[in-house]
């Protein structure tokens, strides 16, 4: 049987995707064009897909862990992921939205082992710096991305990857969009400010304490695993971030150019409180 392949790189982590379906791989190449990786690597995750039929609607997403193995089940897919061996076998319905949901869950599970996580937020990049505007559904992530589109490179309007790379917390673009219709390129930049969208804020912005920042970060992380090791890893990374990067509540409705304000307030408040 002929096997078709392609490689994606998301959040600096490469995945080799294999399937016997030429159309499936072709559609991935087309829809994830900006995230294709052409670098020969031997350190990637290998995911083998086979086509499955899912007649029943599943009851949400179920993730279980046994040692380094995860079993993952969602609407339209089920499979196994071995973190140590960097392999996954997935039975999936070959639909783009199902594949995208699988990828989101896959990355949410592996990122803690790469000092990272996925967070519900819009990500904006300007020069060598990036900012995240985090919040739940309807908090204004897509609005922020649209308003900032001219001035900033948009990393996402829905889910951003944050990873510690060579000692620097870095925000990565993802192919996990919300409603943003603009182009998202595979980009990254050092994280400079953590902003939490708050429509009820009666002032334009407010500096958060380290504790408040940690709690807000944890509340907005996209994560499905119930095991204590992964949670501890995420918790420790978040604690470290709050030591280095200050958090703010922000009401973007106050500003016509909130991007400039974000830049200015992060310049003014470089060092967080211990």
């Amino acid at each position: 049987m002929r096997i078709f392949k392609t490689t994606l790189c998301i959040g600096g982590i490469s995945i080799l995707l294999e399937s016997s379906s030429k159309d499936f791989i072709k559609s991935i190449k087309s829809k994830y064009n900006n995230f294709l990786s052409f670098v020969e690597e031997d350190n990637y995750f290998k995911i083998v897909f086979s086509q499955g039929k899912f007649l029943k609607k599943d009851e949400g997403i179920i993730v279980k862990r046994d040692g380094s193995n995860y079993s993952i089940k969602g609407e339209g897919f089920c499979g196994y992921l071995d973190i140590k061996r960097k392999t996954a076998l997935v039975n999936i319905s070959f639909k783009e939205n199902v594949f995208n949901l699988f990828l989101r869950i896959f990355y949410s599970l592996i990122l803690p082992f790469y000092e990272g996580f996925l967070i519900h937020s819009a990500g904006l990049k300007k020069g060598d710096d990036s900012y995240i505007l985090s919040g739940p559904s309807s908090s204004g992530k897509t609005t922020a991305a649209r308003l900032a589109d001219r001035e900033f490179c948009i990393l996402s309007d829905e889910l951003v990857i944050i990873r510690k790379m060579w000692g620097v917390f870095t925000a990565f673009a993802t192919p996990f969009p919300g409603e943003f219709t603009g182009c998202i390129k595979n980009d990254k930049a050092a994280l400079k400010g953590l902003f939490f969208l708050n429509k009820n804020l009666i002032v334009p912005y407010a500096i958060k304490s380290r504790l408040e920042t940690l709690v807000s970060l944890l509340e907005n992380i996209f994560f499905f695993c119930p095991d204590s090791e992964s949670n501890r890893l995420i918790f420790n990374i978040c604690g470290e971030i709050t030591n280095k990067i200050r958090g703010y509540d922000i009401n973007i409705l106050y500003y016509s150019d909130f991007g400039r304000i974000m830049y200015e307030i992060t310049e003014e408040n470089v060092c967080p409180q211990p």
Binding site: V215, P226, G239
Partner: protein, 92 residues
Amino acid sequence: MKLQKKMFVRSPDTAWQDIEDKTVIVTPRTKKIHIISGSGRSIWSCLEKPQKLENIVELLCGEYEVSVQQARDDVSRFIQDLVDKKIVKVVD
């Protein structure tokens, strides 16, 4: 549950950090964030190893100006709350 005869210890599933003057605890299964402060932190600190309720009461009475009965009532309530939230587990 009669707390007096039991021993209690931090649940191994929890992750926690001291931040500012509080302790932030995350329970993976419920994905809830719990924040404790003041005497609660003293209790959390001593629960690193299995403890009987009376040991914790003794510790609190040494640290705070509180009667033994008041400390016993407060510790019982607090420990029961931590057990209910699966932050602390009962050891036989």
